[in-house]
Every structure is written in C-alpha cells, then in structure tokens.
C-alpha cells in the first residue's frame, strides 16, 4: 500500500522501513487476478463516463433540482441516506456521551473525589487550628488530659 504495486515494477522499498521489528506478511495474489480486478474497475469507470457524456452532453439533459427528485433518484441524491444514518445512529449518540463524560463523570465524580479530599483536609485543619488560642492554661489542661489518657492506657490496657 505504501509502495508502487509490483505490477508496475515497484521495488518494495518500503517493505523494510520498520526493519526486523515488524514481521512482513506477504499476500500472494495471482497476477491474472490482479489484472482482472483492475480491468473490472477501469471498465466500470469508463462506462459511467460514457453514460454521463451521452446524457448530459449529447442529449443536453438538465439535471432536475433536488426538490423535484423522487423515488430512486432522491435516494441516490442523498447517497442512500448513509450520512443521515451515521449522524443519528453514531455521531449524535457519541457526542452526547462525550458531553456526559466531561460534565458528569469527569467534573462531578472524579474531580469531586480529588478536590473533596483536599477540601476535607482543609476543613479538618480549619477546625483543629481553632484549638490554638494562645491560652497557655488551656494548653496545660489539654496536656494533663493527654497524660491522664496515656496513664490509663498503660495501666488498664
């Protein structure tokens, strides 16, 4: 695919562009099959060109407007409605999902957990720091309580 086909004398210079890292899986197709496939494609294109030339150049037919089209012509004009089908079945649902992921999963859930953790730590520190009043007798009282608690643990546990 990345080289001139062997049929036209390609020398497979891209074959080893990833060296020995990527193994080469050569596909062998009979030369007759290759020629036949190319011939079918080429003949199909020539037929379509001849048909278009006959209809629009020799017979001078003017293509009808989109609004006037009906039946198979309308379906063909809309390319079998493939684009509309893709848009409603694949594109729109995926875009809706993308919006849901960024606005709900990302912003509310994942980010909520991360920033929530930080906020909880901040809240706890805000409450604990209010104990630091600068009142030495209060600190002594807390220290005495702590010593009593340690003493109780040593004696009774």
């Amino acid at each position: 695919m990345l080289d001139i086909p062997a049929l036209f004398g390609g020398d497979m210079m891209m074959m080893h562009f990833l060296g020995e890292v990527v193994p080469i899986n050569e596909a062998h197709v009979a030369e007759g099959t290759e020629t036949m496939l190319m011939a079918i494609g080429t003949i199909a294109i020539i037929l379509v060109v001849l048909y278009a030339a006959s209809r629009y150049m020799r017979r001078q037919e003017v293509p009808e407007t989109d609004a006037e089209m009906h039946g198979m012509g309308k379906v063909l004009n809309h390319k079998f409605y493939i684009d509309e089908f893709y848009n409603s079945v694949i594109v729109q649902p995926l875009r809706t999902m993308g919006n849901f992921l960024v606005n709900v999963i990302d912003a509310l859930i994942i980010d909520g957990i991360v920033t929530g953790t930080g906020r909880i730590a901040g809240d706890i520190s805000a409450r604990v720091k209010s104990l630091q009043t600068g009142n030495v007798s209060f600190y002594l009282f807390i220290m005495a309580l702590g010593m009593a608690a340690i003493l109780c643990m040593i004696l009774f546990i």
Binding site: V22, R95, G98, N99, D111, V114, T115
Partner: protein, 489 residues
C-alpha cells in the same frame, strides 16, 4: 562525563541566567538548549548500542544508606534524552513571541526542569531518580502558578494534590525496595537482582503505578491534565506534555517491568484496560471541545493511553512502538500547541468558534497546520504512523478486543481534528478572520522544522528502533524468563 553534562549543563545555565541581565534571558536559554541538543546528537552518533562505560558514572553518595550517584545511558535513556533535548530549543523559541514578567526566572525554571528531567532519564539509582523526579516538579508548579492564565491557584493546587499523592506512594515503595529483604542499596543492579515475593511485587507495582498513572496520565487519574495544559503558558504546556509525561512512560520500562515482572504479568492487563478505556473516553471528550488547547490536551490523553496499553503487552513490538511514539508525540504536541499559540496571539483566545476561512489568507500556515494535524492522526509516512501501528499490532496480539478500544482514538481523533481544521481554516472568512498577521520568523523556525521532523521520522523510523533495540530485547527476554520461572518453578 557526557551523561553528567546532560543534567548539569541546563541546571547551571538556568542558575546563571538569574545572575545575568534579563535582556539576555532568551538568547542564553536558547544557546543552552542548542548546546544540549548538539551534545545529544553527538551521543546518538557515538552510541554503540550497549550501555557504554564511557557514558556511565557511579560514585557512592550516601555510604550508610547505600545510595549511589549512578548515572548511565542505554538506548532507551538516549532516546529520552533526544526527546528532551531535541524539543527544548523549540520550546524556548515558542516563548519568543510573548513577553513574560521576570523573564530570567521564567527561562531559568524551564532549563532547570530540563536538567531534572534528563536526570530522571539517566539515573540508575532509585533514590537519585526520585530526587530528579521531584526536582522536575517544582519548576512546573511555579511556571503554571506564576505565568499561567485563569484560575491558576485552584488548578495548581489540584495538580499539586495529584502529583504529591502519587509521589508519596512511590517514595514508600523506593524505601521498601532499597532497604528491606536483605537489600542495602538503591542502585539499579541491586534492585534488579532482588528476589521479591509475589505479594511484595503487587504492593510495589501499585505504589509505582499510582505515581505513573497520575504523571502520564491514565484514566481515571487524568483530571489535572486538561486544566493544567490549558492554564499553563504555552512553553510550560509543551514541557509538561512533550517531555514530562514521558517520565511516567519511561519509568514503566525502566522501573516497573524489570523490577516487578510477576505483578506486571498479573495486573498489566488491568492497567492496559484502563489505558485503553481512557483512549476512547478522552477521544469522545476531545470531540466535544471548542477550545483548541483543551482539545489538544484531551487528544494527548488518548495518545498516551495507547502508548501505556502497548507497553503493558511487554513485547518487543509494543515497547519499540511505545518508544517511537513517545518521540513522535512530543514533536507533534509542540506543533499543535504552538499552532494554538499562533491563533491565540492573533485572535485573543483559543476558541474555535467564530473562526473560519484563514486558509485563504494564510496558505503557508494552513499547509503547516494540516501536516501537523495529519501527523497527530497517524497518517502513513508521518511520524505517528509507525509507532501507532506497532502499538495496535502489539495490543491486538496481546488481547484482540482491546484493540477496539485502543484503536478508537485513531478514528475519533481523525474526526475531531479534521472538524476543528474545517472550522478554523476552511469556509468563508468573517469579520474576525479577515486579517491574519503573517507568520513571524520565529513561527517559521518552529513549525517548518517540526514538519520536517514529522516526515523524516515517518519515512525513516528504523534508526530510532535501532537505538532502543538492544535494551528492549533484554527487558522483554528477562521478563519472559522471569514469568516463565513463576509459571514453572
């Protein structure tokens, strides 16, 4: 000595900048970056394939703790240095078009960050590695906080919270590895030769992976990244996305796969699944974005998710593909974010709304933009194609169904990238886009080499895989023998 220069030269240049008059900041930092690049090019040509003794330096640093100042280069380290030092001159150049307050400090922090990241890539002692890992973070925080735009305090806090959380777990794992189970050294040889129980490997694996999953980032540890990339000044975004996140990917290859192979065998699939889900997740979100920088940030999460999934296949093609892709991703990211910066300078914001028709008045810019864009969606013969192809190939061989998730990024990536191009560059001009100031010489000095690198790397990727072939082969072979021993004790 050369390896030491890769660390010391940028750091010393950065510190020297602080002492010099500020009008020389740009020139001195560019000269420093170019000298580092020249040294790297010399190392690439001089490199013989094995971990050469001439590029190794091993001195006891803290004797009582068994900490060594051990730095060395194998092909993987060399490629990472090439990434860092190749991108740095362009990153410095991209800052040229903007005026930053305290420019000496701004450029100094970027150079110090470069030196620290180079240190991460060559450190062969876990303690030393951790020091460089943390050292690289400090300039990143300051760059985002002081020179960022928007809610920098809130976003830097989130960035800080995430990375500190991950780093602490990694520190515990390093301490455990270095000074337990009879081991008394944090040197790479001692760590590689440890015989760890399966449960110990599992704990260490998760402690390391938490830090790396945040750094890379992998879904669902990623929410710091889009905000930080969007808020940070463009050069800092390029440093973060182009080089710094590769510290996490590199560390998986250097410090996870060889150290805890059993845990990688057991839980590697789980990480690969998260990474692949992240590819689809980030691609879908990127599609909904109207801010170009934010879209590129989400696109980057998708790309690095694919690399991570490929690394956990622990195959030669997966690791080689991942390494090639790391370099390609760095080059493309510089191009994409610089394009966003060019538009930002001309139109005042990064919104794609209200633009259009720029191609008709700026065809050269349109062409360069198109090449960078096509490279980022891995068009054949551009630099991202070989790596992505090898990664998808490895993932398909590992677990075929994962390719559906991991490959979705390539398809959806093409959709949102081309749609954004259509909105910005094609169509009719409007009142806003009827003028487009011509590209400056700096713009051309950044974008034209980026485009050349895209084609050169896309057409001749073999020389990159030659650099990393030997160490990758050793890592994969050792992993396979270790995991086989576990299966057949």
């Amino acid at each position: 000595m050369l390896t030491l220069l890769f660390i010391l030269f940028p750091i010393v240049s950065g510190l020297a900048l602080l002492a010099l008059p500020k009008q020389y900041a740009k020139q001195v930092s560019l000269a420093s970056a170019l000298i580092s690049l020249a040294l790297t090019v010399y190392a690439v040509f001089d490199f013989t394939g094995a971990m050469s003794a001439s590029y190794s330096m091993d001195n006891i640093w803290v004797e009582g703790l068994g900490v060594h100042f051990h730095i060395a280069m194998d092909g993987i380290s060399l490629l990472m240095l090439l990434l860092s030092n190749l991108l740095m001159p362009f990153i410095v150049l991209t800052a040229n078009g903007d005026q930053y307050e305290r420019p000496a400090l701004f450029y100094a922090l970027m150079l110090i960050m470069q030196g620290a990241m180079n240190g991460v890539f060559v450190a062969m002692d876990m303690f030393l590695y951790y020091i460089f890992w943390e050292l690289a973070l400090i300039p990143a925080y300051i760059l985002v906080l002081w020179w960022g735009k928007g809610e920098t305090r809130r976003i830097t806090f989130k960035f800080f919270l995430y990375t500190l959380f991950g780093s602490l777990f990694m520190l515990v794992a390093i301490i455990w590895l270095s000074w337990s189970g009879g081991n008394t050294s944090s040197d790479v040889h001692a760590i590689y030769n440890m015989s760890l129980s399966n449960s110990a490997q599992n704990y260490i694996f998760f402690a390391f992976m938490l830090a790396y999953a945040i750094k890379i980032p992998i879904f669902p540890m990623h929410t710091w990244q889009p905000d930080t990339y969007t808020t940070a000044p463009a050069p800092a975004t390029m440093l973060l996305g182009g080089v710094m996140l590769k510290m996490g990917l590199y560390s998986i290859i250097r410090w996870v796969i060889p150290v805890v192979p059993h845990a990688v065998e057991e839980y590697g699939l789980m990480i690969a699944v998260f990474a692949s889900v992240g590819v689809l997740y980030a691609s879908l979100i990127a599609w909904t974005q109207r801010d170009l920088k934010r879209m590129f940030a989400w696109s980057s999460i998708a790309h690095v998710g694919l690399i991570t999934a490929g690394l956990f296949t622990v195959s030669e093609i997966g690791l080689q593909g991942g390494l090639i892709q790391m370099l390609a991703h760095g080059i493309n990211l510089i191009g994409l974010f610089y394009i966003a910066q060019i538009l930002m300078r001309r139109y005042g914001n990064n919104s794609t709304e209200g633009l259009g028709g720029i191609r008709s008045i700026a065809p050269v810019f349109a062409g360069l933009y198109l090449v960078v864009l096509l490279a980022s969606v891995a068009l054949p013969l551009t630099n991202a194609f070989p790596g992505e192809w090898m990664l998808l190939n490895a993932i398909f061989s590992y677990h075929g169904w994962l390719t559906v998730l991991a490959g979705s990024g390539v398809i959806i990536g093409a959709v949102y990238m081309l749609q954004s191009y259509q909105r910005i560059m094609l169509g009719e001009q409007n009142g806003k886009t009827h003028v487009f100031a011509p590209l400056t010489s700096t713009d051309k000095w950044v974008l034209i080499p980026v485009v050349l690198m895209i084609f050169i790397m896309g057409m001749f990727p073999q020389w990159i895989s030659d650099i990393t072939a030997a160490p990758v082969h050793d890592i994969v072979e050792k992993f396979q023998s270790q995991t086989m021993q576990t299966l057949n004790p």
